[in-house]
Amino acid sequence: MAIKKLTGAQAVLEACIAEGAETIFGYPGGAIMPIYDALYDYNDKLKHILVRHEQGGIHAGQGYARTSGKVGVVFATSGPGATNLVTGLADAMIDSTPLVCITGQVFAHLLGTDAFQETDIINITMPVTKWNYQVTDATEIPGILAKAFYLARSGRPGPVIIDITKNAQIQSFDYEGYTPCNHIRSYRPKPVIRKNFIDEAVALINNAKKPLVIFGQGVILGKAEKEFKKFIEKSGMPAAWTILGLSALATDHPQNVGMLGMHGNYGPNVLTNECDVLIAVGMRFDDRVTGRLDKYAKQAKVIHLDIDPSEIDKNVKAHVGVWGDCKETLPLLTLGIQEKDRSEWLKVFADYTQQEYDQCIKEELNPSTEEMTMGEVIRIVNETTKGNAVVVTDVGQHQMVACRYAKFNETRSNVTSGGLGTMGFALPAAIGAKFGALDRTVIAVIGDGGIQMTIQELGTIMQTGVDVKIMILNNQFLGMVRQWQQLFNDKRYSFVDIQSPDYVMVAKAYGIEGAKVEHRKDLVKAIETMLAHKGSYLLEVMVGKENNVFPMVPQGCSVSEIRLK
């Protein structure tokens, strides 16, 4: 093959094509202009989505990665373009989302001179990236991009940022084709599985009277949903999820006992402190899951499966740390464990579920009050979509309610900002989620606070015509903070009273259809209209102002001290 000349900019785009990253979210600017100039000629091979803000771009990249299972690609310029990515990088880092972000940078000879739109983005993003690198010479580009994609997706996934100086984008060089990377000598994506730990784990599970499986996003990231299902089904164990593990196991699976953590379900929280063996699969014992650590599952033997060795023993000491990719470790465990009838143990969960239903869930889903609740909105969505939609949530009360009550049949259906809790995540993430799963219905559930943080992305929806259903649950408060102020700060409602614009008019200004529901009698119809509508739609639902999310594990309390009211 004859060696052809390419510019650095072209080499970047060739890498995106070779890696199957056909959708790119980005925003142009001075230092990334050569890449955008090259993109002009790649229109047939790459789809570029022009966002309204780089933060919107990166959240869209995250949404895309989460529903598609592919690496999200984001372009931004130097300086403010790059710094606007930081929140998304931090979010992707803590939620293990594979991203490759390309930022433009000033000419190499200007580095360190405080040039126009120069920012040291490599050092700024160091703590929030799995890896980052600055390219100053075009010949490095194919190799570095190959490395970037490999690092973003392999092992425990994460965001990578590649900063490319303008001269390197312009520079022509002899392009010898693109070779994907699958080995870096200093990088081990997966620890080797050791049989003795598998055996120890199997023995613990087989001797367990009351085992509890808790699972996180590792199951989804490892594409191990089937393996996980077989594992729990063989031994009849109850399984509870973190909010990032949600949808890895169908909601109505008989062994799915619900959500863990601060606003999780009653049973799995209380019984975490009663189980004899706790089997954690691809989760990292976040403080919102564990509550007070010194009172967390102290009675249980802990088995922890994780691909990232630094997670084992980080927060909770594991009696058996099963290092490895759960797609490989779960089948090994399944092989060894005995088939067991654990219906009595599952019955204990069912009893707790009943108590929770009577004291919280019933009223939340079918309220007796005049005011609408977030829970009933989600219930109607469930009934209308039959659990087949992708639900993207923002952060706050509506997020907890949506995660608690949304039903899912399929994996990769729940997209939320878990670890970082980024308000403003949902709208752009939903845009990306839709591009990542074009055949699915995507519903963004957002509070009246979060929507106002990235509302400009309605412009992206307008311009691309992407079909996203936007559901604003408006309680006229920054509800989660208000709830805490009510419970812990004597109702001193400090700056949580937030006003909203007329969302339907705002949507209209962007050419998006919309409606507002203020009374229960209109709710079902409104949701059906939204879902039946061709194209994007914004539905604002006025819900009770001072409803609280319960159950709740108050901060500093043990999971077994969960409050039902």
């Binding site: 490599i122 699958n182 000598r185 200093s186 081990r188 060795p309 290092w323």
Partner: protein, 200 residues
Amino acid sequence: METNTEKQEYTITVYTENQVGLLNRIAIIFSRRKINIGSLNTSPSEIDGIHRFTIVVMESRDVVMKIVRQIEKQVEVLKAYFNTNDEIVWQELALYKVLSEEITEKVKVERLLREYGARAVAIRKDFIVFETTGHREETNKLMKALEPYGLVEFVRSARVAIIKESSGFHEKLKDFEKREPSEEVIENEYLGKREAVFTM
């Protein structure tokens, strides 16, 4: 268990690729947790092109273990070890500048040199520079001895350390270069005996 939470001096040895910015990546692992780095040295290692960091911290075993895992997680880090002082041989180098006038009049310089194992690395009309190598206490001793005679400048280098039990990195590196390396390279060779020296 108590030994795991008691603070003591640990020496962390990190083998890395030679990459711009890696020092920063490693440093922020400490600063993020508000852990003070007692001393830090970067140098070549026994292998051409592989860097060796030697980092000293005063921390509990639990904390050091977590830090070492975070360090090993960095893409360009090949391997990280941590050791207590009895598991390593270490040295620090110290330089002392004193005024010639003062020191030659009041002290028997030869005796000083002999007693503290010091060398004079520069002797000028106006000042003399001594050098010692050794453990902290040893280099401190000479500092104390010189203080009464107007110690003008004092500086001590970071610790450099050799791990007694280590057989070097040559064999391991060969393993790292393979696509299917041995278990030892990939994971904690001491996982089975938790209380032994930890590596990942």
